[in-house]
């Protein structure tokens, strides 16, 4: 059992190393030296450095890779996601093997660490009208509430069950909405997100994901 864990941890570490140049290349100027500490961790398989390899030295995520920011997300939410990755309910080849390598304590440490980092929000998707429309008004003719109705003004998140969308990479948000649609991510409380995502077209998903990413790569009129 222990040996499996160690081996898995090694695997994780190697994978994390693979992504290190990507993360540091993109964010070298903002990386504080402490983020370079490479050590196996704060507890039970959690290594801040290993997570930083993909999620950024400050948990800010990576837009090009579609890797989510973790800063300031609620610890219970992060914990739930790591357990879902570990059990395979939430499917992602890299995160499945990483989460399996963490003990329950390691999951708690990782979740608490990122939860206590103050979130960073961005001004949102100027110019993308259809994304803004869904985000702020929803499409009630099909019983689709606005994203902000639950995720809060500017999608900055509400409580433990409605994580911040603000500033997450468009590619990540897009992938999650598709994952809710096809069941490769658990449907969330009351199956809310499964139900809502299935009423969205590919174009809706693209537009609303771009809106919350705060990305400027949006053409007026909301066309992808």
């Amino acid at each position: 059992m222990n040996r499996t864990k160690y081996r898995a941890r090694g695997k994780v570490f190697l994978k994390a190393l693979l992504f290190l140049p990507l993360a540091f290349g993109a964010h070298a100027e903002t990386s504080p030296p402490h983020a370079l500490i490479l050590g196996v961790g704060e507890g039970s398989g959690f290594s801040r450095a290993a997570c930083a390899g993909c999620h950024g030295s400050e948990g800010e995520g990576n837009a090009a890779g579609g890797i989510p920011g973790l800063r300031g997300l609620p610890s219970t939410y992060l914990e739930k996601q790591l357990h879902a990755f570990a059990s395979g309910e939430r499917k992602n080849p890299i995160m499945n093997s990483i989460a399996q390598a963490l003990t329950a304590d390691g999951i708690t440490h990782a979740a608490n660490y990122y939860a206590q980092l103050p979130p960073r929000s961005r001004p949102l998707g100027a110019g993308d009208e259809s994304g803004h429309e869904l985000a702020v008004h929803g499409r009630w003719s099909e019983n689709v509430p606005s994203c902000d109705d639950c995720h809060g003004p500017d999608g900055k998140g509400v409580g433990e069950n409605f994580p911040a969308l603000n500033g997450q990479p468009a590619l990540y948000l897009e992938n999650q909405l598709r994952a809710f649609q096809n069941g490769s991510r658990p449907p969330g409380p009351l199956r809310l997100m499964e139900n809502i995502s299935r009423k969205l077209s590919a174009q809706d998903i693209r537009a609303v994901s771009l809106y919350y990413s705060g990305s400027s790569a949006v053409t007026p009129g909301g066309q992808p």
Binding site: P119, E129, E133, H137, G138, W140, S141, N143, V144, P145, S146, D149, C150, G152, P153, K156, G157, V158, G159, N161, F162, P189, L190, L192, N195, I196
Partner: protein, 296 residues
């Protein structure tokens, strides 16, 4: 882009917001309401936008007249657009009208005053106050530019059948835990975003609507819940579940009725002589309306 309701709907729509209810729930093919970008860029448009701001963040933009944590849009979904959640555009078309609540013909502005007095547990802005002018402008603009489907009874809140068995606090508690607590909190006090903005409104207690509000009546609460809750899953609860959870919600104390005479019994006899009001009733060990916390 100007569409008018048919004369027939005008004739049938002269009932009051929440008081008179259409007889079936809305189905597909909802009316098309104008988008924010259609708001004109002139003096009138400025007033419409101000009305929209008040509607969305009532405590912030009408602070002097609000005594709780609610905003108009918490119940009137999609910023007062959504059919079946007592939409603002349909309410605008429904006044002046006689209301049994005060036994006289009320104008739309007077109806808005009552929203502040009861649902917002505050004070009525005086007639002609810019707050009422802004809200009326927003309602008028929305109605004037709507493409309204005259075949659909979208106004008010669709009526709900009488419950099969009398509503139960205990059953309602279970429905609440399973379907409502996620957003409104286990304690019914709602949830806020990190910046303090109320996202999910409190359903009872000192920061919610008072005993005089329509939502404090079981039939209106059950009908609203059945049609609109949980958000995005309207219609998913059974009628019985909607009645039970309405009973649970309205079986908690809340701010005193502003018409309070000094006696719960007398106030009940004067204003709550209805089986749809639990005011003055013993529920879960408390006589409702009698809680010192409700007298603020």
């Amino acid at each position: 882009m100007k569409y008018l309701m048919t004369l027939a709907l005008l004739m049938t729509s002269l009932t009051t917001l929440g008081d008179g209810l259409p007889d079936s729930p809305p189905e597909g093919g909802a009316s098309l309401l104008p988008a924010d970008r259609d708001i004109p860029k002139d003096e009138f448009g400025k007033m419409v936008r101000q009305g929209q701001l008040i509607f969305s963040n009532t405590g912030q933009y009408a602070r002097a007249y609000v005594g709780n944590d609610l905003s108009c849009r918490n119940c009137h979904l999609d910023q007062g657009r959504k059919a079946g959640s007592a939409p603002l555009w349909a309410a605008f078309l429904s006044y002046p009208a006689y209301r049994s609540k005060n036994h006289r013909v009320n104008t739309f502005a007077e109806r808005l005053q009552d929203c502040f007095l009861y649902s917002m547990n505050g004070k009525a802005p005086p007639l002609g106050d810019p707050i009422l002018v802004a809200l009326e402008s927003y309602a008028y603009w929305m109605e004037k530019n709507a493409k309204i489907n005259p075949r659909l009874p979208e106004r008010g809140i669709p009526q709900i059948q009488a419950p099969g068995t009398p509503p139960s606090y205990e059953r309602g508690k279970t429905v609440y835990a399973n379907h409502c607590a996620l957003c409104h909190g286990v304690d019914g006090q709602g949830r806020r975003a990190g910046d303090g903005h109320v996202v999910f409104p409190p359903l009872w207690g000192s920061r919610s609507f008072n005993w005089g509000a329509g939502m404090a009546h079981l039939n209106k609460a059950a009908a609203y819940i059945k049609t609109n809750m949980p958000l995005s899953l309207g219609g998913s609860l059974s009628d019985q579940e909607a009645w039970d959870v309405a009973y649970f919600m309205d079986g908690h104390d809340r701010p005193q009725d502003p018409r309070f005479t000094g006696s719960v019994d007398e106030t009940r006899a004067l204003f709550h002589r209805s089986r749809n009001s639990l005011y003055g009733h013993l529920v879960d060990g408390h006589v409702l309306g009698n809680d010192p916390a409700s007298h603020n």
